[in-house]
Symmetry: C2
Subunit: 336 residues, 2 copies
């Protein structure tokens, strides 16, 4: 049996309330009584039952981090940094993986409704906002969205400006002399993905070029999709001189396919990938990538959430961060 507040109170010969106050550094308890209580608590290794405490004060010091996919190193990076931020203010994070499954997302959402967590951070995913709406607005549950676009976005969010990222990438490739840039992205109806396509169009348009739609390839987000994308694109009428892959795993698949096809990067094809992970920097040649500022995304989102929890956030906040273009060899034209 665990030792409880009551036990300490009995042993100290005081009321439970006094013990509670002493332990929580609240005023209204004398020096000696406090000392005695603390000593006892120490001696018996007393740990307040957080459930009881949470129930009483309606606060758990836990937040849910709800991931759309755990396979993305970038997402993991964000989680790591949230954990770090949380730890500093003594918050625990509970990790949820929805696997892009709407049902699971909803079910995890009930952590919030069930008062098990003080707030939640959603990372990625494509649930339309209306699903979450009811809860957030009617029940005022603290939550913030990371890298998730919603049609009607009244959520506090911190986003990566994919559009601008792709824009940068295209611009860079233009500078290197590439003109036929294939874009490997996700499904067009996905807001995040259409953003990317926008950036692509914008870059082409502003440079005075026109877009060949055959160069835009929508596919899944996994490795195989990236691999197959290359094969398919090579079957089209127009052969690209460069690739932009907009997801982490597709980038890997793409590179594999190119190499397996006996082509060389950047000699045959320039490549701009996504995500600065162990792979992209070590692979041969080192990959130029767009990289989202995971640490910053994490920090900002956690800060927002904390403020929401403490009721200190005025109105909806949206912060948009620009991914960084890390230029390495894979996108440098040979004779430039």
């Amino acid at each position: 049996m665990q030792i409880t507040l009551k036990d300490i109170a009995r042993m100290a010969g005081v009321a439970e309330s006094t013990v509670s106050r002493a332990l929580n550094d609240k005023p209204g308890v004398g020096q000696e009584t406090k000392a005695k209580i603390l000593k006892l608590a120490q001696k018996y290794n007393y740990r307040p039952n957080q459930l009881a405490r949470g129930l009483a004060v309606n606060k758990t010091n836990m937040i849910a981090v709800i991931l759309a996919e755990m396979d993305s190193p970038g997402n993991i990076e964000i989680v790591k940094n949230i954990e770090k931020a949380a730890e500093e203010v003594d918050y625990q994070i509970i990790l949820c993986n929805t696997n892009n499954d709407l049902k699971k997302e909803k079910s995890y959402l009930s952590l919030l409704e069930a008062n098990q967590v003080d707030g939640a951070i959603f990372i990625g995913g494509k649930l339309v906002s209306s699903q979450l709406l009811r809860l957030s607005f009617e029940e005022k549950n603290p939550m913030v969205l990371v890298n998730r676009l919603a049609e009607e976005n009244f959520f506090t969010s911190v986003l990566t400006n994919y559009s601008q990222g792709i824009y940068k990438a295209v611009e860079h490739l233009f500078e290197q002399g590439f003109r036929k840039i294939a874009l490997i992205c996700g499904d067009k109806d996905n807001l995040t993905e259409s953003e990317k396509i926008n950036g692509y169009y914008q870059a082409y348009t502003e440079a005075g070029f026109s877009v060949n739609e055959d160069l835009i390839f929508s596919t899944g987000a996994d490795r195989t999709s990236g691999y197959n994308a290359f094969l398919e694109i090579m079957n089209r009428d127009i052969i690209p001189d460069a690739f932009i892959s907009t997801r982490e795993l597709t980038t890997i698949g793409l590179v594999e396919a190119i190499k397996f096809g006996g082509y060389f990067i950047p000699d045959d094809f320039a490549v701009v990938g996504y995500g600065d992970n162990i792979l992209t920097s070590v692979i041969d040649p080192p990959l130029t990538v767009l990289n989202e500022p995971a640490a910053e995304l994490a920090k900002l989102s956690f800060d927002f959430l904390l403020k929401l929890i403490k009721d200190k956030l005025e109105g909806q906040q949206i912060k948009v961060l620009t991914p960084e273009l890390i230029v390495r060899e894979s996108s440098i034209a040979k004779y430039n």
Copy 2:
């Protein structure tokens, strides 16, 4: 304000106990009453407060996963799989990163003592068991250790047989004709690491060779350590013809250093790395690696924990898994 049991009870015109029983599918409540209650709960989107519930039944359906380091892809892989297993039986996992900090580990341990979680899984780390002893034994807190060796191990654990892994690797390299195999591992006083060294010795001995200690290099677990290890080893008297790197990140650093030095794998040096992540399979040449069965480690440890929680585990259980040797080009002798 959240809607509560009491609210439902009032609206249904029954006692709280009845509502509770109805919602939890317990016997003792009539068909119609039950239906009425369920409908109301549905209508008002009632979610039982898990804190209150937990307090009442002394169970939270949450477990802590306490990671020594979040930078290891292998560890992340284990976490992912634990999450998966947990999700299936409706358990939540709360993620803790100790960063190999003993203080933090202790503090996270108090999640157990504070009844916030039903159990904990420790992944990696080098805390000597005596630190945890008191809690586990005196308080009978369910916990299982993954990949953590302890001097006096009375904990239920699931371990990777590093010794045998290294043995396999050396054996394989022998078969390929390599004889001067450098071993890059961690500090010798670390149990896990000395295991590896044992495997190395054993392989050499059984093959009838003697070990040159200059080929054993103890260093940190990060990328830079791997990088520098190569440089240092090249400065020693004996130049190896092969490398075994026993941690994920050092493997990457090692490969970088070799390539940066202008050497070729496996022509100049054969390499056996650790961890089958995106990198090792895509890099050029594809890396031969030792890989721990993350999914299995996860599944087993979670199952053990679940049984411990349900008081269904008889005695201490220890399961030892052997890492798989995935042979790729990096360790294949050119003219073999």
